[in-house]
């Protein structure tokens, strides 16, 4: 390591605040993408579930019409 101690690495002379803030923002951006993708995936999965469960509930009926008494059980 170039720096002798962790404290020196943290301070980086007087520039640590600039370097570490950029590092933090970069990591936060990557984490934001992770969170947003997770949120979007959950939302879309709910959409798929809702649509297909509704589709399963809908049952087609045959196009035949007759009195119930004539229908063989």
């Amino acid at each position: 390591m170039y720096f002798e101690t962790g404290y020196e690495l943290l301070l980086m002379g007087k520039h640590g605040i600039y370097v570490w803030s950029v590092t933090l923002i970069t990591i936060s951006t990557l984490l934001f993408h992770g969170w947003y993708l997770h949120y979007m995936k959950r939302k879309v999965m709910k959409k798929i579930k809702k649509y297909h469960l509704n589709a399963q509930k809908q049952k087609p009926i045959p196009p035949t019409f007759m009195p119930a008494s004539q229908v063989k059980s």
């Binding site: 002379g13 640590g16 950029v22 923002i25 993708l37 798929i48 649509y51 297909h52």
Partner: protein, 253 residues
């Protein structure tokens, strides 16, 4: 050479399964690359003779700034392909890239401003490079807003493709702004034939650039997976994806 796999990739279902197969590898390799290059650059390289330790911002600023331009180029190409050949997947690619590109462009502006304070003595100046990058961020933002404001999806995609093509004019302006005008922002340090960066600083930088490009590919695949499922939610295979994740009742219709 057989290019039939390229035709297959334009099918949303094939693309989805292709991406979920290979993307985890790309993602973990890119994360490893970013960790190595940032540790290498931030802790193991010597400070710059002029800028001291503040130059270490280069290991994040240069990759994201370069990606902001490359992503815009890819987004505009995808939009154009969708506009001309009406490929649904190309429009989805353009949409995914707009979100990723906007985040890189914003990050490049913020990291540049933070780097500017200790080196130039100011957070911001309206010089050609910074202003043209600022415009690029607005072009990305325009893409995102257009998609949310136009109700008709097809119209929104086509409008965004047109905006993307028009915005391409800005890319050479950004690239050559430091040569065409007298700017506070320094000229290019890496060209195709030469570099003015010492090898011990160049190697972690190149590693960071490669890793950030790789994670962009990975993010693109993840966004594409979401976008594909969003548009294909009525299909049986989309339900199978859900069923395989949640071990739900198998599909009956």
């Amino acid at each position: 050479m057989n290019f039939s796999f390229l035709h297959k990739l334009s099918s949303p279902r094939y693309f989805y399964y292709f991406s979920i197969t290979y993307n985890p590898w790309i993602f973990y390799i890119s994360l490893l690359g970013i960790s190595i290059s940032l540790t290498w650059g931030l802790a193991f390289t010597a400070p710059d003779y002029l800028q001291g330790n503040s130059y270490r911002i280069i290991f994040m600023h240069v990759p994201v700034a370069s990606l902001a331009l490359s992503t815009y180029m890819a987004m505009a190409i995808a939009g154009t392909m969708g506009y001309i050949w009406r490929i649904k997947l190309a429009f989805l690619a353009s949409k995914s890239l707009a979100i990723i590109g906007f985040s890189w462009c914003t990050l490049a502006l913020i990291s540049g401003a933070i780097w500017g304070k200790p080196t130039w003595g100011t957070w911001w100046v309206w010089d050609a490079r910074l202003t043209s990058m600022f415009i690029l961020a607005f072009l990305y933002l325009g893409q995102i807003i257009l998609r949310y404001t136009i109700q008709n999806t097809e119209t929104a995609h086509r409008a965004c493709a047109l905006l993307g093509i028009v915005g391409l004019v800005n890319l050479p302006i950004i690239k050559y702004s430091v040569e065409w005008w007298n700017t506070l922002h320094q000229g290019a340090s890496i060209t195709l034939t030469s570099t003015s960066i010492a090898p011990e600083m160049l190697h972690p930088l190149l590693c960071a650039i490669a890793s950030f490009y790789l994670i962009t590919v990975s993010l693109f695949f993840y966004y594409m997976q979401c976008e594909i499922l969003k548009t294909e939610y009525q299909t049986t295979w989309a339900y199978k994806v859900l069923a395989s994740k949640n071990t739900m009742t198998p599909i009956s219709h």
